[in-house]
Symmetry: C2
Subunit: 414 residues, 2 copies
């Protein structure tokens, strides 16, 4: 499917006017950054670069696309026809943490081409980063207990696939989404729903069927009727080697200790307890003292836990005043009230956990944060990047209660 029209109409009408006025071929630099984090968030995790790497080469205007752009002048359509974009793009590694001002993506090239990417770049980064940022907080709250992403049904069917991928990058262990397994290699898992129990003559018949099919190592959902009776039946059917039970209703701070005691009493000491049902990072943290072995998270992770979009913007920060690929870049900035921008292309460096320096030149102290894009779609590398970045956070930054950003990316004096 062509990605050429996954954009706003004004990108194309601006191109049309820019080609006519002669500025479309001017060298420009656009930066993607967030003016602020979602309210109360102390850090973010940027994701989507791997998906962008796969999507960018598909931004090609073919005859079917051009037929739908009949509002453009013929010369503009000819300029677009089959044009491979020759932009130079760099960005933060996928899974890296970011703060207000971090230039997470930089696009350099002629104005006309750079315009075309704005909407697609922002859609991908805003969606995937919103999920990864929420997921990272849940990973911190879970304190090394595994998390399963199971929110596909709560978001758009294609956003669900990307959300599973973003949650995995942030440290989730598994996803329920099969297409995320096929398309991105995310490991998948799944057990059963209440309907499966209801359609059988009895809970025992349902458990027997599931164990026959998936083995005693499976996870049985025990709360369709009465949880205590469900647990007894589960152990009767599967034996004390039952892999896990799932609790999906009631208050887990009450249900988990009761279930653990009952399992132990029944001799199922190694049977794990999986808790699901409208969990978010705060509930996960509150369950730390309980004998929970894994968390299943749905709605809150795929909707960014209160922040469904990352708030990234795509802003022109430098432009040449004359034509040609070698023309000198000059900083540009708008001065709109409350929406001003800082001109000039920025190079970003991590200088310890609480400092991110932006410089108007490429060198200097610190770990350089930007690298070329497209750079492939390496999920394992992104997951490792995120684990390292989360380990680097200060105790203050890891807190879940609302607070200011743990750091802000700021421009150093030249």
């Amino acid at each position: 499917m062509s990605t050429a029209l996954l954009t706003d109409r004004y990108e194309l009408t601006m191109l049309d006017a820019a080609l006519a006025s002669g500025v479309a071929e001017r060298r420009t630099v656009f930066e993607v950054f967030a003016r602020r984090l979602p309210p109360g968030r102390r850090f973010g995790v940027v994701a989507g670069q791997g998906r962008l790497s796969a999507l960018l080469p598909q931004v090609l205007y073919g005859s079917d696309d051009l037929a739908h752009l009949d509002f453009l002048r013929p010369a503009t359509r000819a300029w677009l026809d089959g044009r491979p974009l020759s932009l130079s793009i760099s960005g933060y590694a996928e899974g890296e943490t970011y703060a207000p001002g971090s230039p997470v993506l930089t696009v350099e090239g002629c104005f006309g081409e750079a315009l075309l990417l704005e909407t697609l770049v922002l859609s991908v980064l805003n969606a995937d980063t919103a999920v990864a940022s929420a997921a990272a907080r849940m990973v911190l709250a879970a304190r090394h207990r595994p998390l399963i992403e199971m929110g596909s049904r709560r978001t758009h069917e294609q956003a669900a696939v990307s959300a599973a991928r973003a949650a995995y990058i942030a440290g989730f262990a598994l996803s329920s989404n099969l297409e995320a397994g096929r398309r991105h290699g995310v490991p998948t898992a799944g057990t059963s729903a209440h309907a499966f129990t209801l359609v059988h003559e009895s809970e025992a018949a349902a458990f027997t069927a599931q164990v026959a099919s998936l083995g005693a190592g499976t996870t049985l959902l025990v709360d369709t009727y009465d949880t205590a009776q469900g647990i007894r039946t589960a152990v009767q059917v599967a034996g004390t080697e039952l892999g896990a039970i799932r609790l999906d209703s009631g208050d887990p701070r009450v249900e988990v200790p009761k279930a653990r005691a009952l399992l132990d009493e029944l001799g199922a000491m190694r049977t794990r307890i999986v808790v699901t049902g409208d969990l978010d990072e705060h509930q996960i943290e509150s369950l730390a003292p309980q004998a929970v072995d894994a968390y299943g998270v749905g709605t809150s992770v795929v909707t960014g836990s209160g922040a469904p979009t990352a708030g990234f913007v795509y802003k022109l920060v430098a432009a040449a005043r004359e034509d040609g690929a070698d023309a000198l870049l000059h900083p540009v900035a708008k001065t709109s009230e409350g929406k001003g921008t800082v001109g000039g292309r920025k190079w970003a460096f991590r200088c310890g956990p609480e400092r991110e320096a932006l410089r108007l030149h490429a060198g200097g102290a610190g770990r350089p944060l930007q690298r070329p894009l497209p750079g492939g779609d390496d999920l394992a590398a992104a997951r490792a990047t995120c684990a390292e970045a989360l380990a680097e956070l200060t105790p203050e930054a890891r807190r879940l209660d609302p607070g200011p950003p743990a750091w802000t990316a700021t421009t150093e004096d030249p």
Copy 2:
């Protein structure tokens, strides 16, 4: 692209176990409903049925899909291989209002097939309904002034296309999303961004270029530097026949009257004012006394204005106790704490603006709300349905402040 794997792994493992235990062929009924509306919402607008109508025939397991289902028994894969689903589906008309308990979709057929649809059905209805429900509140708040959906960049690139469609159903006039124009026939519009002004030598040069390309009827973005000067330059360049100006920064309650007075002073009495910039239904309502001619809405509409998912669930409500397509259906219900369900297939009737009756049989007073699916993807019809349904709401239901649902769909005594 195959939709077969846009589902949760457990739907397939349940099928595997159900085929083995012999319940997969049993006749069942599943209903889609919301236990509650998002906090403070007084009604919802259901959307997505048209997209579902197009997606459902694609739920077919081909050889590439089956290769990724290697965790299933060979007999299960053979059962799935190329199987066209023979389910009977009915649902509320797209664009119809709904309340807690409304059975917005009903799926009847064998358990094994009905299982397969759960995740996809919920993804589509939850995503599209979240947008349509938020958009409908904005349409009410705008009081017949046109609304432009321009939030593509704030959500997943494919969710953006569906969001544009859902907002249009709810009464938005236009969308910025070009793919929504191609795929769904949503009318599109667009003007220009700050980058277009910044890349030119001056604001006047940018406006001249835009007017040369799009005509004096275009909308000029006047707040890149100084809004009053921007308006003067805009009228100088385009003349008093300038179509519109766009204000994207500052407080519109201050900026709009100043802009209107200046335009009038300059003789541009017919030049319209378009306001954009982080608007939601509450800000739109607060701008009712101002001389705003159109609103551009981004983030808040595509993210459901605080409620990014509709909270629909897909629950088994009836099942046969023996095999065969004609076997008698019996109500089933789970009794999980806080998550109980009402058993039995429900027929829904609208009986005035504050009453929605559910009956366990098909007849009786009121307007029947359910109709067969797939039923095509008729955007104009959905838009008309929504306009009628919104017109039917009580003044109480139309209020934007938090309140209880205007009605609840309740089961009548038999």
